[in-house]
């Protein structure tokens, strides 16, 4: 299944722009999706401290990834 993965903050400058389109198998957990993102970006380095999130919550590494809805990779935050 092709999924759009949104990128935010410093990840927008990691070479893929504002989003990636990835072919993902069903039933993956968040850690597996982050690994696929790292592979697409060609490096794990930009993902240091990053998490996968839905519109409703930050996912833990072992959380299953919902099969629909928005997905985003969020680097460390610095609002305010």
């Amino acid at each position: 299944m092709t999924r759009k993965i949104e990128l935010y903050g410093r990840l927008r400058d990691a070479g893929a722009g504002e989003a990636l389109e990835l072919d993902l198998a069903a039933g993956l957990d968040a850690a597996a999706v982050l690994s696929a993102v790292a592979q697409a970006l060609g490096s794990k380095e930009p993902l240091a401290g990053a998490v996968l999130a839905t519109e409703a919550e930050v996912l833990s590494a072992s959380d299953p990834v919902p099969e629909s809805g928005r997905l985003a990779v969020l680097p460390p935050v610095c609002g305010g």
Binding site: G9, R10, E55, V58, P76, V77, C78, G79
Partner: protein, 142 residues
Amino acid sequence: MRGLIQREPLDAARLCAAVESPSHGAVASFTGVVRNSHEGKSVVAVTYDCFEPLAAKVLAAIVAEAEAKFGARVAAEHRVGRLKVGEASVAIAAGSPHRSESFDACRYVIEEIKVRLPVWKREHYSDGDGAWLSGCSLAGHR
């Protein structure tokens, strides 16, 4: 709703009005403003990036926590987009019967925003360069 992500300029006076009550003897506010320097570099603007659906949910949760924790009425807004030096990036207001709860509620909200809100800032420098600022990982925040 008293916790919002905004694209338009913030209005701290409007937030203060939103937390007023005849039973409140205190209204405190905090405004975060884009400053003109950072670590020796001359800053001309800051772009705030945001994952809006989650940020709106988290900001509303922080406001609700502050209200429950301090018995205050609280409002907070965070702006996104490109802001010039002097523009407000975040505004918080709290009203309560006595002053300490209002001060504490404002402090709680800004400190939680710093570590939980999915917002990122990219500074723009006078030499034309720019940089995303480092921050706090959301790992462990649910």
